[in-house]
C-alpha cells in the first residue's frame, strides 16, 4: 500500500524485510533515532508516531537487537549464574538443591527484566573461571552458586568487582557478599536433635571439604564436645548418588554398629543412607537416628519421612537477586546469613 515513489526502485523488493531499526525507520518515514525512542518506550515521542512505529514493528515481527543495544548502552540485561564444581566434577548440577535454587533465581531475575546466563565450571581445569565470565562482557553481574573450594579466588575477585553475590557460607570478615544459611548453627541443631532422640555415637556423612559442609560438621562437633560425647566421626562420600551409595555401604561395614546417629550433609545423601540402612537390617530411628540438611521435596517422601535442617531456598534466591540488583545500583550491601530451621519428622 504505502508504495511511494520516493524510494529507489532497487529498494522496492527488499523493502518488506526489516532487519534493523533503520529499515523500520525508512518504512515509517522517520529517523532511526525516533524508532529507537519509540520502541524503548521513551516519552519524547509523538503518540501517533509511536503507534505507527509499533504497528510496523509488530507487522514485521521486528525486535531491536539486544547485542547492539547492549554494546551501545554498556549493559546487557543479563545476569550470569555460575556453578563451580569442585573435585566432585560430575552430577552436582543434577542435585535437587542447586536446581531448586536455580529455578527460583530464574523467576526472580525474569521478574526484574533480566535474562539468566548459566555456566558450569570446573575450577580445577580452569583457574580463571570467574574472571573469564565477568570479563566476557556478556553479563551485568554474577551470582555464584556455592563456594566449592574457591573461597580465596572469590575473595580476590570481590576486591575489584562489585556486581557479584555468592550463595554459600559466611566467614568472619570476608569481603564478598554472601547469602546463605548459618551452616554451623544448622550442624548444631542437627546434632542436638540426634542426641535428644537418643543417639550417643554420632557420625557425619558427606564430604567435609566444601566450606558449607565443613561448617555443618563443625557445628555438630561443637555439640558433641559440649555434651561430652566422642567426636563426630566423618564418613566421607562423594555427592553423586551412584558413588555415594557404595561408599555408604562401605562405611557401614566398617563402623556399622558403632554408630547410632547420622547427620548427613544433604537430604539426598540422607535418603540414600536410609536405603542402605534398611538393606543392612538396621531400623530407623530405633537403631540409628538420621537427619538430613536442606529439606528438599524428597525429605517428605522417604520412609520414614526424614527429619532435616531446612534452608529456605526461595528466600535465598530472592535475597541473592535483591542484593545483586542493589549492588548494580551502586549500593553497599551486607551479607545475609539466614537461620536454619529444624524440621522434625520421623528419622530422629
Amino acid at each position: 500500500m504505502a508504495g511511494s515513489d520516493k524510494n529507489d526502485s532497487k529498494d522496492m523488493i527488499a523493502r518488506t524485510v526489516v532487519r534493523n531499526i533503520t529499515d523500520l525507520a525508512r518504512l515509517a518515514g522517520v529517523s532511526p533515532g525516533t524508532v529507537s525512542r519509540a520502541l524503548a518506550g521513551k516519552t519524547l515521542v509523538n503518540a501517533r508516531t509511536r503507534e505507527k512505529i509499533e504497528a510496523l514493528a509488530r507487522e514485521h515481527g521486528f525486535r531491536p537487537n539486544q547485542m547492539a543495544s547492549g554494546l551501545r548502552r554498556q549493559k546487557t540485561g543479563v545476569i550470569g549464574v555460575v556453578i563451580p564444581l569442585g573435585h566432585d566434577t560430575r552430577q552436582q548440577i543434577s542435585d535437587s538443591f542447586f536446581m531448586t535454587l536455580l529455578g527460583h533465581l530464574a523467576d526472580e531475575l525474569t521478574l526484574h527484566g533480566y535474562d539468566l546466563m548459566l555456566r558450569r565450571v570446573v575450577p580445577d581445569e580452569d583457574a580463571d573461571w570467574l574472571d573469564r565470565f565477568i570479563g566476557s562482557g556478556m553479563i551485568d553481574g554474577v551470582i555464584v552458586i556455592g563456594q566449592s573450594d574457591q573461597f580465596e579466588r572469590i575473595e580476590d575477585v570481590a576486591e575489584g568487582y562489585r556486581a557479584m553475590v555468592v550463595w554459600g557460607n559466611h566467614q568472619e570478615g570476608q569481603r564478598h557478599c554472601v547469602v546463605g544459611t548459618d551452616n554451623r548453627l544448622g550442624g548444631r541443631l542437627a546434632a542436638e536433635r540426634l542426641i535428644a532422640a537418643g543417639a550417643t555415637r554420632l557420625a557425619f556423612l558427606g564430604d567435609t571439604g566444601p566450606i558449607e559442609f565443613a561448617a555443618r560438621f563443625a557445628g555438630a562437633q561443637d555439640v558433641a564436645a559440649r555434651m561430652g560425647l566422642a567426636p563426630v566421626l566423618p564418613l566421607v562420600t562423594h555427592l553423586s548418588p551412584d558413588r555415594a551409595s557404595e561408599e555408604i555401604a562401605g562405611h557401614f561395614e566398617r563402623h556399622g554398629r558403632g554408630i547410632d546417629g547420622i547427620f548427613a550433609a544433604t537430604d539426598t545423601l540422607a535418603a540414600l543412607c536410609l536405603t542402605e540402612l534398611r538393606a543392612c537390617g538396621l531400623r530407623v530411628p530405633e537403631d540409628v537416628r538420621i537427619i538430613g540438611f536442606d529439606d528438599l521435596p524428597v525429605a517428605r517422601h522417604t520412609v520414614p519421612p526424614l527429619t532435616t535442617v531446612r534452608q529456605d531456598i526461595a528466600a535465598g534466591a530472592h535475597s541473592l537477586v535483591d542484593l545483586l540488583l542493589r549492588r548494580l545500583a551502586g549500593e553497599q550491601t551486607e551479607s545475609l546469613v539466614m537461620p536454619p530451621e529444624l524440621v522434625t519428622r520421623q528419622t530422629a
Copy 2:
C-alpha cells in the same frame, strides 16, 4: 619498567587500564586488527607478536568483549534454552526432570563452546514468547524444553526459523525438529506391566493436557482397549507436589477401591501417590500396582522402589545439542524418537 618515552605524557597514567583491544594494541605497539587476530587464535600472526599480545592480555586480565564481537560477527556463541510453562505456572522448573535435562544440556553446550541462556516463559501471559527470544539477537539458536500446550506456535515458528530443536512428543508429519521419547509406546509398556502384575482397573494420574502426557495416556488406553478392560480412568492433578498431594487424596476418596493399577505421568507424581496410598492403608503392590515415568533418581528410593518407564535424559540432551549444532551448520535434520524402557522394581 616498560616505561618508554614514546607515549604522550597524558597517557602515562591511564596506560595500565586496558578496556579494549585498542588499548592493548597501543601497549603492544601494534594495530587493533593484529590484536584481534592474535587473540582469536588466527594463523596469520607472527608468533612473537602473538606471544607479546597474549602476555599483555594476561597481565592486564583483558578479554575481548563478546557483545562487540558478537555484533560484528553476527553470532553470539549463546544458545537459548526456554521452558514454556503451561497453565501449571509455578514449580515446574523445580521438577527434577527438567533440571536433570538442563544440567546435561549445560554440559553438552559448554563442551561445544556455547553458553546457555535460560528463560522460563508463561505462554498464556506472553503469546510472543518464542519469537521474542529468537528475535532478541542474543542467541544463535534455541532449545525448547517441552511443548506444553504450544505445539501450534512452535510449528509456526519452525517454518521460518531453522535453528531450533524441541524436547517433546513427535506427531506424524510435524515440521519442527523434536527429540523425545516415544510416549505412546511408554504408555503401552506401563499399562501392560500393570496388567501383568494383576491390575484390571487402571487409572492415569496426572494432567492429560500436555501433549507428552496425552500420548502416555493414549498408550495406556490402547492397551486397556486391546485387552478388553474398562477405559483407563484419568485422575487429573497439577504437577506441583503441594497441590498434587491434595488432589490425589481427593481422587482416592472418590475412586479408592475401584482402582488397582495406577500409571502416573511422572515419577514425582508416583512418589507422592505412594505416600498417599500408604496413608489410606492400601498396600503396594498387593492392593494397588503403580508405575511411574522418567526413572528419576527418586524412583530408586521410594518404598517400595518404583517400577517406571525410563527415558534416557542424558542421551536426549546429547541429541538435542547435536541436532541443533547440525542445523546451525545448515544441515537438514530429522526428529529423533527414542524408545522408552521398562524398569521393573517393586511397585508393579
